[in-house]
Symmetry: C2
Subunit: 291 residues, 2 copies
């Protein structure tokens, strides 16, 4: 199947990501019919009113039956259950993809479902705001969209997903699921853990010096913003990528200790150069972005 | 001396903080005469053109001679040298304050300078942008302004500095220098170190997986923004608060490990509750601010 063959898409879980995907597809391909599937009729209704989907269903099997592509955008912890349950109802040749923040367990699990044509994906976009009310057709624009084929992936499905991601304004990146998870642990999962740990530390210190709470400034605000993300979504992400996060935390600690040792040794030149190199690296990764 | 007695103010170091202080004073007290003191005539000229100071001097002694208040806003590492050098030139009753990000070494050092009337301060405002070009009369508005009296501080000077800070729109907070440094280590200095360490880690991982650089998204961008701060300024801050930063890093590591252990034990409920509590704490510290 190619992009032109996409007539009907079903989205399982119409929240921030699923809703934004629906809106973006409607904008790029107005003729595509989109069905939103979920457990809450009220939330599905909200998604339909916002123009994210054309039709809705609370019945998974009925909702995916005619779909050329099924887009699974539920919390990571329940994705595989949905994928297994929908398998018998899919029409031949239907492709299933997902938007989960961790990939190895889902992709390897889906590969084990008989008759399933699955290719994982992870749009590196999001927000600490959840829900279809925060959805936007432009959420993926300029963002990385990682597609994670395995040796079981049909080559056509890889091409389809890359082209679809690019049609929505994203940059398609191809990585195997395990490499994706190692990278995501460093640039997203560990930062969320760090944010929550820093907040915990400030709360603990406030026990002896309440004034600390009034002193919080820009760096604390920036570094802890994502601590307000959904604890249900992040519980699933953390648990499903535990080994990679542990390894990322160990390497982060080494990097932190490297800087700290220079400070405690009074190595003024060493700490200046170390900090400066980090600033220059960031500038090269995010050119023109100091915000 | 009270606020009404402030006729002449000299600012040593007219960069982001010194320049913003000058602009804010001009706005609140248009009659006050402000002299900018620095080593670069070019930078002083820029500050004068931007309206941050009325007159300029590259001669420290001449520049402070008539001042009722001297505001030291140089990098932390050279503050004490300026304070010692200006002491003989000050007129009787002149008050000296500073804006350094670390307080114990400077306040205790200044207390040891014969004849010096010193009270430390730290406006918890700033930016990863340096230089008077980024200065604004509103930089202190709504920000915390910590004043750090010691047992040698004249009570009038404490009142003066609190009122002055409030006149510029800041919230005055009183802490002893050592307590200030412990708090600042947690909410500002450690976060800067964490930002640089996270960038270093991503750079290291990019050696094996270059795609990681294209995957960076919101949480990485937020958490590393301050890594682009001035390496000269931060070298001084890190070195002058080494013990507090080390202790903050150790406590941060404990908090991080506490979350990580729940993840690695597969304790779904534990990690959800831990993350949720952090989000709620942040919300109570920064109400209404998810950005």
């Amino acid at each position: 199947m190619n992009l032109a063959g996409l007539k009907k898409i079903s989205i399982v879980g119409v929240g921030l990501i699923g809703g934004s995907f629906g809106m973006a597809v409607k904008q790029a391909f107005p003729a595509v019919q989109i069905t939103g599937i979920g457990r809450s009729a009220e939330r599905l209704c909200a998604a339909q009113n916002l123009g994210a989907v054309d039709a809705v269903s609370t019945d998974l099997e009925a909702g995916v039956r005619d779909a050329d592509l099924v887009y699974v955008a539920t919390p990571v912890g329940i994705e595989l259950d949905f994928i297994r349950r929908m398998a018998p109802a899919l029409k031949p040749g239907a492709v299933v993809t997902d938007a989960g923040s961790t990939k190895a367990r889902i992709c390897r699990g889906a590969d084990g479902v008989p008759g399933m044509r699955f290719i994982g994906g992870h749009p590196m976009a999001g927000s600490e705001s959840a829900g279809v009310e925060s959805a936007s057709p432009n959420l993926f624009r300029g963002a990385a969209y990682v597609v994670t084929p395995t040796e079981k992936t049909h080559p056509d499905d890889l091409i389809l997903m890359k082209r679809l991601a690019e049609s929505l304004g994203a940059r398609a990146i191809e990585l195997d699921p395990e490499t994706h998870d190692r990278c995501a642990a460093v640039i997203s999962h560990l930062p969320h853990l760090m944010a929550a740990a820093l907040v915990s530390l400030v709360k603990e210190r406030a026990g002896e010096t309440p004034e600390i709470l009034e002193m919080v400034a820009g760096s604390f605000r920036d570094m802890t913003r994502v601590a307000e993300s959904s604890s249900e979504l992040w519980r699933d992400i953390f648990i499903s990528n535990d080994a990679c996060i542990k390894s990322a935390a160990a390497d982060f600690l080494n990097a932190l200790t490297s800087g700290l040792n220079k400070i405690c040794a009074g190595d003024a030149e060493g700490i200046r150069d170390w900090f400066k190199a980090a600033g220059e690296t960031r500038k090269s990764i995010l050119p023109g972005s100091r915000d």
